[in-house]
């Protein structure tokens, strides 16, 4: 305000030139210019800069959530054969379309994908901008990324070991474990209210079969959809359990459904799927794998 | 948003004697009810400073003139057109600089005749916004001085924000 509308003739030339002149003097005698000589000097980028993606193959479970959240459809899942990990699916990124928005990093349930400080991705050909999973692989994150998301210790059920003894529900001090009956199986399974769990590990200690184990789970900021199971349509084929990347689905025998064979013996009982939804990452692979419309996905029709 | 609302209500209780008249939202609703008893329906004070009302489309021009000249709504913030299954809605957000009020006027038009009166002679700022609504949604504004496409090419045939428009 003070400098407003000065009416002296110095303002014509001298005052503006004083400002730039002092800059020349500063730049020449007191220091270096503000810029860097790019190809030879580079600025140090902060950790957390959103550049090229890196994928930790060991953490990644191949759930394809990153592919689904991508606003530009620039990611895809590629089937791979890895000597260490076997048959896996891992994401690839097309940098010709990538926005570098970081939503894939945020939604990843296991924090397996991250954006690194590498930014020199330009290429003369569009096809070279497609980076497959092998080019993105980097199994050591330490020091390269900032892991901001909180981990929580949560009791995760291994349904194949559970005997429905209900000891965990009795032990839980927060009363957050409820035994819910599994329809037409005649058993119950513990369902854990994750919001109230304090990670006290008592349920893990009390479980006689080691079916409840404390696992570290990353907190998610996204509300993910959960599959809705229709028992009537289920044929027990197990396609969903094979498709599930997070081991959420267990196939369990339904007692009393055994077919009586010709020789009077009982055959194998029918199976049904049981969902341990505490672990579910909401990817929808089971829904897509099911051929008998036994799974419903909120808001999506096949 | 909600805590703003709380704050406002506490203030209201303090000056309870002439409570209705000192609350600008209530004053606005009253004035409109008196002037257009039949045309305006569905009043709702959404939150402090935002009033929603539905208006019959025949009375739009009169109501807007009333708003501008009598109630001091000097600024038209936004004109948006929304397509529903059975109708178009043209939503006017009108601001009063003095009372710090935002009035949301919702006008319904049928699907086969999407037209409302133009308010660009009342608010100059409505001119381009009406052109935009015409361009993208195909709402006709009767009495608009220059109702031409504004964002899309002049010879474009579709109104892309309609739900039956496909990108290809």
């Amino acid at each position: 305000m003070a400098a407003a509308k000065k009416k002296d003739s110095l303002g014509l030339v001298v005052r503006p030139m004083r400002r730039t002149g002092s800059q020349v003097a500063t730049s020449l005698f007191l220091g270096k210019p503000n810029t860097v000589l790019y190809p030879y000097q580079k600025l140090e980028l902060p950790i957390g800069y959103r550049g090229k993606h890196i994928v930790d193959f060991k953490r990644c479970i191949g759930c394809s959530n990153c592919v689904q959240i991508c606003p530009n459809d620039c990611m895809w899942m590629e089937k791979l054969e890895d000597p260490e990990l076997g048959k896996i699916e891992r994401p690839g990124v097309d940098y010709g379309r990538c926005l570098f928005c970081g939503l894939c990093v945020e939604i990843c349930p296991t924090v397996a994908i991250h954006e690194s400080v590498e930014f020199e991705l330009a290429s003369g050909e569009r096809s070279r901008l497609k980076y497959g999973p092998k080019e993105l692989r980097d199994d050591a994150f330490a020091g390269k990324v900032k892991e901001e998301r909180q981990k929580r210790l949560l009791p995760i059920l291994d349904m194949s070991k559970c005997t429905s003894c209900e000891k965990c529900a009795g032990e839980c001090p927060e009363m957050c474990i409820a035994m819910m009956p599994i329809e037409s199986v005649g058993r119950t399974k513990p369902e854990i209210n994750l919001g109230r769990c304090t990670s006290c590990k008592k349920c893990e200690a009390v479980c006689p079969e080691n079916a409840l184990k404390m696992e570290e789970v990353y907190e998610s900021y996204f509300e993910m959809p959960e599959p809705k199971f229709l028992l009537k349509m289920c044929t027990g084929c197990g396609a969903c359990a094979r498709a599930c990347p997070a081991d959420v689905i267990y196939m369990i025998d339904m007692p009393g459904t055994e077919k009586v064979l010709k020789d009077g013996k009982k055959g194998k009982p029918k199976k049904r799927a049981v969902f341990i939804l505490e672990k579910c990452v909401g990817c929808g692979k089971c829904f897509r794998a099911c051929k008998f419309e036994a799974l419903e996905w909120p808001g999506v029709r096949k | 948003m909600a805590d703003r609302g709380k704050r406002g209500q506490e203030g209201d209780i303090e000056r309870s004697p002439s409570r209705i008249d000192s609350v600008p939202e209530e004053r606005l609703i009253r004035a409109l009810m008196n002037a257009f008893p039949e045309a305006i329906t569905g009043f709702l004070k959404v939150r402090n400073g935002l009033v929603r009302a539905r208006l019959d489309r025949r009375d739009l021009f009169k109501a807007c003139k009333f708003l501008r000249e009598e109630l001091g709504f000097e600024h038209i913030s936004m004109i948006s057109a929304v397509e529903y299954d059975d109708r178009f809605e043209v939503v006017y957000h009108v601001t009063s600089y003095k009372d710090k009020l935002l009035l949301e006027l919702i006008i319904r038009t049928p699907k086969d005749d999407p037209s409302v009166d133009s308010v660009s002679s009342i608010w100059g700022g409505a001119n381009w916004q009406e052109r935009e609504a015409y361009d993208l949604m195909g709402i006709k504004f009767n009495g608009h001085p220059n109702l031409e496409r504004i964002l899309l090419p002049r010879d474009y045939q579709y109104h892309p924000l309609r739900k039956d428009f496909r990108g290809d």
């Binding site: 800059q23 020349v24 020449l28 810029t35 000589l37 | -």
Partner: protein, 375 residues
């Protein structure tokens, strides 16, 4: 030995060499043919012909040196601008000499670009305009001597181009015509407005410019550069004619079209003004010529107001002259980058309402000084 003697020696030696062959050839031929050969050879060896050829050679030498100098200027211009804007400037091309070769690289790049003539342009005018612009600008360089010994002179005694300063100013004033021509011939509204602005602008600054220069002529009593510089032996004209010097610099800025007064190519409103339709090497020539004119402006200011090549004889006169011209040039650039552009009506107002009265006052001061007998 001055430049004339040097060039005269070269020309004389060359003519002698050729004439030896020539006469020998003439001897072989029949008598009537040989007589013709003799006549031509005599003409070639005559004083008049040698003088003309010498002057042409001098012009070439001075212009070439001045153009090499322009590379320096461009480099200083870019480096200075870079430092003012807090970056490095040319750096990699000619790494060891501070990026000096960058301009050469740019020139080569411009050379290989396609030559495009707009379809609806007036071809004649479009092609002629750069020739006039570049030619007239380089003509200025030929008239300005670097020192008593180094400049285009007409005889051994160092009698330089008579009325050289006047000639330089006249050559300076041709450019707006070519700008108008280019603007009109390009068949583009921006270039047309640019050309018109150039003409309008010339009206406003040319008169005060010439009036300040007139005061210098008055004090020096001559139109020639050497006499003017010699007259400043005791005191630079810039000191008694301080007002005139300022007016001269402002008008010169308008003349060379740098930023407070670069209306004909006002980048923000007229894209590139009158050069909009010129691309490739033509644009490169314009770019170079603008720098040539800046240098010529600096040289004129040096010769007319800053004592020319006069200075302590620690360093040669030519270097003195160049240093002064460089300083004026740098001040010009400094002004360019720190000032906004004025509007077209404002430059007219400035020219007629401010500069012209100041120029008249300056002329009166000069008359007073002359009549007091101080100069």
């Amino acid at each position: 030995m001055n430049l004339f003697e040097f060039c005269y020696g070269i020309i004389h030696w060359l003519v002698d060499l050729v004439n030896h062959l020539w006469y020998w050839l003439g001897d072989l031929l029949p008598w009537w043919f040989g007589d013709f050969f003799d006549a031509v050879g005599d003409f070639a060896a005559s004083q008049g012909h040698l003088s003309v050829m010498t002057i042409l050679l001098e012009v070439v030498v001075v212009v070439v040196i001045a153009l090499i100098n322009v590379l320096n200027f461009l480099w200083i211009f870019r480096k200075f601008m870079a430092r003012m804007f807090d970056f490095y400037g040319p750096y990699y091309v000619g790494y060891r000499i501070g990026g000096w070769l960058q301009n050469l690289a740019d020139g080569i790049k411009l050379f290989v670009k396609e030559i495009i003539v707009p379809a609806k342009a007036d071809k004649m005018g479009y092609l002629l305009a750069p020739v006039i612009f570049v030619g007239s600008s380089i003509l200025i360089l030929a008239t300005i001597p670097f020192s008593v010994d180094f400049g285009v002179s007409t005889n051994k005694s160092g009698d330089y181009v008579p009325a050289g300063a006047l000639f330089a100013l006249a050559a300076f004033a041709i450019a707006p015509f070519s700008i108008l021509l280019a603007g009109w011939a390009s068949n583009n509204k921006y270039t047309l407005i640019g050309g018109m602005r150039s003409a309008a602008q010339m009206m406003s600054y040319e008169i005060p410019l010439l009036m300040t220069v007139a005061s210098v002529f008055l004090l020096a009593g001559s139109f020639g550069f050497v006499d003017i510089v010699n007259a400043q032996h005791d005191m630079w004209f810039g000191i008694p004619l301080f007002i005139g010097f300022i007016v001269f610099l402002v008008c010169l800025a308008a003349e060379v079209e740098i930023i407070p007064f670069d209306l004909p190519e006002a980048e923000a409103e007229l894209v590139e003004g009158w050069t909009t339709e010129y691309g490739g090497m033509r644009f490169g020539l314009f770019y170079m010529t603008t720098t040539v004119r800046s240098y010529a402006g600096g040289a004129l200011a040096t010769a007319l107001f800053l004592g020319g090549w006069q200075g302590p004889s620690l360093i040669p006169d030519e270097i003195w002259f160049l240093i002064k011209a460089y300083i004026v040039f740098v001040v010009f650039q400094w002004m360019t980058w720190s000032l906004p552009r004025v509007r077209v009506d404002q430059i007219l107002g400035l020219g007629w309402k401010r500069l012209l009265p100041l120029a008249i006052i300056n002329l009166m001061i000069a008359v007073a000084l002359k009549s007091m007998g101080w100069f």
